[in-house]
Symmetry: C2
């Protein structure tokens, strides 16, 4: 009965129900209207995520998601030859993998809202400080990610979204519009602070609203308590559930 | 494939995905293991919630919840003859309504973990201050709820849980063990602060762990990224998904 909204991504999605997390904020906004399902896989790149597609988005589903956010790239853009090399995916493959995801979702449901989110920017200094906090003098000198390369992946993600006609959020650009984004939005140079989560939430809500999926316009699943006839409550629950908010 | 955990209640549940909300914390804890579905209906008492039972918990479901928390009573215990009178439900009816909920859930699935949560305590002074903040001099002198009466409902909830052999959390008692609970746990004398949410979360986790549903012991839905063979990733996804965490 209730619609599903799926969040498919890496650790930035898996951690989206921490304090002020963008996933939790979505769940709060769509309370009584849609379920937010987290499908976040920390450390995953698009190459590995492709193996999950047919499990998470079966073609024979009678209830495909109303909307799906695809939020990968932070791991694909890890540099070859550095400490996170095993997560690296070449940029052209990243693009093809995203295309496969979009095609799969469109096959599941041609009406599904698909939103591609680019990786956020990277603060190399923040990554280095975090590595030192973990490994001290053993921390490698060179960051495993650079903001420049991640930006190339972000551009590719946007380019692909435009080619395929799906919605997108250029988080890499958006965050860098704010002075001090490095510490304001990223706690370790890569993962989101509560403020960083708020940016993702606001941008996702904006896209959802533009696509006509504003929570305000979706009906409550059952009557608001103030509309229940307390002398004859049964009568308040007899109407079509879809009309419950009228 | 993934198990569901349902949170069924009133506004204390509907608001459980706000900052540090107990629902969001559960979703974070069970990330990649179970979906947390919020079925919170602000303002509802058990009498009205009964009308939702067959919609939310259909007997023919092929995938009943793994666990369900039932968290009502804050509205049932509103006093007759005061401003929230329409939400009042006599204590014996409250008990019978909870019994009907438990029986329904047991019919859905005899193995489902059912956790009854009593209403939290009420801070009458906090309710009064909140009413004044809304209505100024027009605020009624008499609180629409008292801690004493809510305590009777809490005791009835516990009594019923014991009679039916289901798990329970006496939130009314638990919160009052902490000095300053009135403001520490309740922001308007009734609804939960972030600290109040943390208490609910901790108590729910305790019951879940005791029942063998500890998130730590549940398998990941897919391999941890560090276990993926980056030379031959397909091989990491061929094994039974249930064994993915091994």
């Amino acid at each position: 009965m209730r619609e599903n909204i799926v969040l498919f991504g890496d650790s930035l999605t898996e951690q989206s129900f921490r304090v002020n997390g963008w996933g939790a904020s979505l769940a709060n906004t769509y309370s009584r209207k849609a379920d937010i399902l987290v499908r976040g896989y920390g450390g995953y790149n698009t190459r590995w995520a492709l193996f999950l597609l047919h499990h998470l988005f079966p073609l024979e589903s009678t209830k495909p998601p109303l909307a799906t956010a695809i939020f990968f790239g932070a791991n694909d853009s890890a540099l070859s030859g550095r400490t996170s090399e095993r997560q690296h995916v070449p940029i052209q493959e990243y693009k093809h993998n995203l295309q496969k995801m979009v095609l799969r979702l469109k096959s599941c449901s041609p009406t599904m809202l698909i939103v591609l989110i680019t990786p956020p920017p990277v603060c190399e200094e923040g990554r280095r400080a975090y590595a030192i906090s973990l490994y001290g003098n053993n921390a490698r000198e060179l960051s495993e990610r650079t903001n420049e390369v991640t930006g190339q992946y972000a551009n590719t993600c946007v380019e692909m979204a435009k080619e395929m006609g799906v919605a997108y959020i250029n988080l890499w650009s958006k965050m860098q519009e704010t002075e001090g984004w490095q510490k304001k939005f990223l706690w370790d140079g890569l993962h989101l602070t509560p403020d960083g989560n708020a940016v993702v939430f606001q941008e996702v809500i904006k896209v959802f609203n533009e696509a006509g999926l504003s929570a305000d316009k979706m009906p409550y699943d059952f009557p608001h308590h103030s509309k229940i006839d307390d002398k004859n409550p049964g009568s308040s629950f007899q109407q079509n559930v879809c009309d419950a908010s009228l």
